[in-house]
């Protein structure tokens, strides 16, 4: 870098001074993250005096189709009002006409980054249940995420859970939103955000049908990804590739849950995220898991474990009765 002249420094100062605000309101502070087409900034909302996150296009990727995708992504996420989905506050265009949207700033770590500190098996499974909630909500609104993975789940400082980055999301059934009286019309307009035929999602977490026939991707693809997230949460390892879950160390019912969620054939997976969550809840509560054809002995052990206090009480009572009978003789 050669020495800058005074004139060059003055021009750079002017250039930087002019580039710090969007809509005369959002002062960009620093870059939070960057993906294939988008970049997310931390910004300060000068009107409401709070920090926000702003997603816009990486200029290298600016083209009209991507701009339309970003705008529709904002509309789609904006229609999903759920505590586990980061709310969209605003949508606009910068001085050059590039779209951006403003989200709540989430202060925390991704599931990927915080995996080592999440506690034991039960705590991790309860966390997965909380991840399932916003996904099930999105499905109920007809939206398929299509890129669920640990890096797209944020854990807040106080244990809040958010599912992030609906950049690849699509409507599983475009007519669904139109039938839903509460669904904004923008959602129906966002029915197809991506090009047909493209392989979307993240390898390892991407369902087979996403790689082969992306136009037929349904809610089952998110169920597949949640099965992979389950495996990651309990083993700490990402699936290396499709169908290669390293879950031998897990209890048999958990293996069955993961395998059912990650079945190659979408029709053989759980019928909904709610069904997957229900099976995980049953495992946490030591109840019978629907995905697992349980041997009677295993069932008896589980029953004993679940009712251990009653069993202990009855066993103690019987033991005392026997001792009393022996003493009377």
């Amino acid at each position: 870098m050669t020495r800058l002249s005074d004139g060059q420094v003055a021009r750079l100062r002017a250039a930087c001074g002019a580039a710090d605000e969007l809509a005369g309101r959002y002062r960009i502070e620093r870059e939070l993250g960057r993906g294939g087409m988008g970049v997310v900034y931390l910004a300060f909302d000068a009107q409401l005096e709070r920090r926000v996150a702003i997603k816009t296009l990486d200029v290298a990727a600016v083209d009209p189709r991507l701009a339309a995708r970003l705008r529709r992504e904002a509309q789609l996420v904006g229609a999903l009002e759920h505590p586990g989905i980061v709310p969209v506050h605003d949508l606009g265009f910068d001085a050059e006409g590039t779209p951006y949207y403003v989200m709540r700033y989430v202060d925390g770590e991704t599931l990927e980054a915080s995996a080592a500190t999440l506690g034991g098996e039960a705590a991790r499974l309860r966390l997965l249940l909380r991840i399932c909630e916003p996904v099930a909500f999105a499905h109920a609104r007809g939206v398929v995420h299509r890129d669920l993975k640990p890096a797209n789940v944020m854990i807040g400082r106080f244990g809040e859970v958010w599912v992030m980055d609906f950049g690849l999301a699509t409507l599983a059934d475009p007519t669904f939103a139109a039938r839903d009286a509460d669904a904004p019309s923008a959602t129906a307009g966002a029915a197809r955000l991506t090009e047909a035929g493209a392989a979307l999602g993240t390898p390892g977490y991407r369902a087979p049908e996403q790689e082969e026939r992306s136009s037929e991707v349904t809610r089952a693809a998110d169920i597949y990804a949640l099965g992979c997230v389950l495996a990651f949460l309990l083993t700490g390892r990402h699936p290396a590739q499709r169908g290669s879950l390293d879950i031998a160390s897990l209890a048999a019912p958990l293996r069955a849950i993961a395998r059912t969620a990650c079945a190659a054939n979408p029709a053989e997976r759980y019928g909904s995220v709610t069904e997957l969550a229900a099976d995980i809840s049953r495992y946490v509560d030591a109840e019978r898991v629907s995905a697992y054809d349980e041997p009677w002995l295993a069932g008896a052990r589980r029953w004993l474990r679940r009712h251990r206090f009653v069993v202990a009480l009855v066993a103690t009572y019987l033991a005392l009765r026997i001792l009393f009978a022996l003493w009377q003789r």
Partner: protein, 238 residues
């Protein structure tokens, strides 16, 4: 008003006060790289030192910061870092003869490779800013250093991300004579649409601004000092 900036700072000055020697050395080196030219300019103008003497004293200042752990004595709540640094300079010059012997010790500090030819041309030339306030010159050199560091960081980042063309367009537009290039000229030259050039320029401006802020954050000791510097350099408080 809510605080728009995080509490955690990545300040080279804080690093220079660290109890860990490696962290401390990295902090000192960063501070020295950023401040040697403002210090040199200040010595030449404020204390009227000859070029060789100014270089010598600049080196002594930077060595002393390390050898005597002067950064550890800096109290951010009492003064801005640059005020502290200028006080150190004035003190050192006042006691220069007494400290001459001590200035020869090594202490592990590596002399900085400096290219001061252009600065010297400015100070020695007919248009030398004799009437300019030394502190203003210090500020100006510091600002120049901040932008040069930010541009250097941007070059590395853009090269890694395959965006060197964006920076090339930006440099042509902002650093060459602006009258020579319109967005349309640049679009024709690089085979892009005019709107693509506009978008790329806007993006580089934003990225440069973020790097300027990051550079300032690393070279200031407190949030208040950082904000004041950002306001001075960019024209408004961040």
């Amino acid at each position: 008003m809510a605080d728009p900036f995080p509490l955690t700072r990545h300040s080279a000055i804080e690093a220079g006060r660290s109890p860990d020697e490696r962290t401390r050395r990295l902090g000192y080196e960063r501070v020295a790289r950023a401040y040697w030219r403002p210090v040199l300019a200040y010595l030449r103008l404020r204390h009227r030192l000859a070029r060789a003497d100014a270089e010598d004293v600049t080196q002594q200042i930077l060595e002393r910061l390390w050898d005597r752990q002067l950064l550890a004595e800096f109290r951010p709540e009492r003064a801005r870092f640059r005020t502290f640094l200028r006080t150190c300079i004035d003190h050192l010059v006042a006691n220069r003869s007494r400290d001459a012997a001590a200035a020869k010790r090594g202490g592990g500090w590596q002399p900085l490779a400096k290219d001061i030819s252009e600065l010297e041309q400015l100070l020695d030339g007919e248009a030398a800013p004799i009437a300019e306030d030394a502190e203003a010159l210090f500020e100006r050199e510091f600002t120049r250093t901040v932008f040069e560091e930010a541009m250097r960081a941007l070059q590395e980042d853009y090269a890694a991300r395959g965006r060197s063309l964006d920076l090339e367009i930006f440099e042509q537009y902002e650093l060459e004579n602006r009258d020579e290039w319109s967005h349309q000229d640049l679009a024709v030259r690089h085979g892009l649409t005019t709107s693509a050039v506009t978008n790329r320029l806007a993006s580089v401006r934003r990225d440069l601004r973020l790097r300027v802020l990051a550079t300032l954050e690393s070279l200031t000791a407190t949030e208040e000092e950082f904000r004041a510097e950002a306001e001075r350099i960019l024209g408004r408080r961040p």
